[in-house]
């Protein structure tokens, strides 16, 4: 298990060095998108419209933050923990291939399609501790911008400048490894032992 510090824009070469189980910290630009912002970005790409931000080499965070706006109109992050990534499985592979984000951050893991796209394009999934909203907010140095506020504050495209954002446990790497899949296989093999404790079989 290595501890790796990454600075955006992250190159394909650097991200391919990271392995499942490593801990990564990101400095630079992390942007937020949930279901709606994914759909809109893909729609823009399809229509050939210009995106408000070039996503290549950046880190995408599945998160709907608590934010507040001061009198001057500037936004501040109060709390920003990860949301469940599996909802994005249905289009994340297309998204990664289209935009070449290098790190996807969330909780709960992702599945086959995302794992395959990450191997092909060169991207990793960083599991951020569920609920650790304060740690995330503290790593945000500045809200660089927000787009698509019409989607509502939790769904908008927030752009954060971060310093040592993490710890993120690499749960999918560029070699096709998926930690959540490995754990679920281990859990299956432990099932019998767990049954024995409560005195049941099968």
């Amino acid at each position: 298990m290595a501890i790796v510090k990454l600075q955006t824009p992250i190159s394909e070469e650097d991200v391919r060095k990271v392995k499942v189980g490593d801990i990564i910290y990101i400095s630079g630009t992390v942007y937020l998108s949930r279901d709606e912002a994914h759909l809109r970005a893909l729609e823009y790409a399809k229509e050939g419209k210009k995106l408000p931000l070039d996503f290549e080499g950046l880190a995408l965070f599945h998160c709907g933050p608590i934010v507040k706006q001061d009198e001057k109109g500037e936004w501040h992050v109060v709390a920003a923990g990860p949301t469940t990534s599996s909802r994005m499985e249905i289009f994340e592979d297309k998204y990664i291939e289209q935009f070449k984000v290098r790190v996807v951050i969330g909780k709960g893991g992702m599945f086959e399609r995302t794992t395959a796209a990450m191997k092909k394009v060169g991207a990793v999934y960083g599991a951020f501790t569920g609920g650790a909203a304060v740690l995330a907010a503290k790593a945000v140095k500045k809200v660089k911008g927000v787009e698509w506020l019409d989607l509502g504050t939790p769904e908008a495209l927030w752009i954060f400048e971060v310093e040592e954002f993490g710890p993120l446990t690499v749960a999918i790497d560029t070699h096709g490894n998926n930690l959540f899949k490995e754990v679920s296989q281990k859990v299956e093999s432990n099932r019998k032992k767990a049954y024995e404790i409560i005195g049941v079989s099968e």
Partner: protein
């Protein structure tokens, strides 16, 4: 005596502290888990959880961005000299509105046919559990409940023939199915008997116990212990990333059942086992039960 103005002020404090400061029993359970965890990934997850709630408490920031749906448990003493019982509900609604704005808490009350109300209130929300108990006090517990863990709560109508072992297997299988989704390490509330509604209500009420406090009945305490051990043997680990800490405690209770039914309620609580309670005495004196809150 008029209680509503005190209740509004107290309930605001309770919501604020529930969202920002984890009760002692949960802190201890998580720190013990960190001490005994041997898996390095699991240890880093627990370390992040601990650092997170400690920082949240220090700066009075919600420990999780999902500040939950607002629930209150209200116990009215049968000899409580209250003259404005009809105003308590509005006092609690006002407290939730204020907490949403001032803490701040994320607006989490959505009209299923429309949009987010923006202030954590709406039809039946905050939900208030009323109970009349012996004594002369009025007790309020604020219990903001997160959505991720609630999504893994369930009711199952078992066949009575499966017996208690069948109940235990069902709980274990369900928690294996839940895996990392409810943000483990979890507290698992379990209840059997009554009916579908009674089982889940009792199961959820078990989450109010200090984390790890066993049931007073030794046989039930033993089932709790075995279930906890079995769930932790699965290796799901904190956040489902593997490890020995999947569950901090199992809290179980029961009601008598219909001869034909064996309802099972499973109420799942994420690591952010948030709650805060207070008792108001007939002289208006407020005693906070989970947090050291100064007026």
């Amino acid at each position: 005596m008029e209680y509503a103005p005190i209740v509004e002020k107290v309930a605001f404090n309770l919501m604020k502290y529930a969202a920002t400061v984890l009760p002692d029993s949960a802190v201890k359970a998580l720190k013990d888990a960190y001490k005994y965890e041997s898996n390095s990934v699991a240890k880093s997850q627990l370390e992040a959880i601990i650092k997170n709630f400690e920082t949240g408490a220090k700066f009075c920031i919600p420990m999780c961005q999902d500040t939950g749906i607002h629930i209150y448990y209200v116990e009215v003493g049968a000899d409580c000299p209250i003259d404005d019982l009809g105003k308590i509900k509005d006092a609690l609604i006002n407290a939730s509105r204020r907490a949403t704005k001032e803490v701040p808490m994320r607006p989490n009350a959505v009209d299923p046919f429309g949009s987010n109300s923006g202030d954590n209130t709406g039809r039946f929300i905050p939900w208030i559990n009323w109970e009349v108990v012996p004594g002369d006090k009025l007790k309020i517990v604020a219990f903001p409940k997160g959505g991720g863990s609630e999504n893994m709560s369930t009711v199952k109508m078992l066949k009575p023939g499966v017996g208690i072992k069948g109940v235990m297997k069902e709980v274990l299988d369900w928690m294996i199915h839940a895996a990392g989704q409810p943000c483990p390490p979890t507290v698992v509330g379990v209840a059997i008997g009554g009916g579908a509604d009674i089982a889940i209500k009792l199961a959820k009420k078990q989450l109010m116990r200090p984390v790890g406090q066993p049931h007073p009945d030794k046989n039930i305490a033993e089932i709790e212990r075995k279930l906890k051990e079995a769930i932790n043997t699965t290796g799901i680990g904190p956040m489902g990333l593997g490890g020995n800490t999947t569950c901090l405690a199992v809290h179980m209770d029961y009601a008598y059942r219909h001869p034909a039914s064996l309802p099972l309620g499973i109420a799942v609580q994420c690591w952010a086992a948030r709650q805060s309670g207070a008792e108001i005495a007939p002289d208006g004196k407020v005693t906070y039960l989970h947090h050291n809150i100064k007026e």
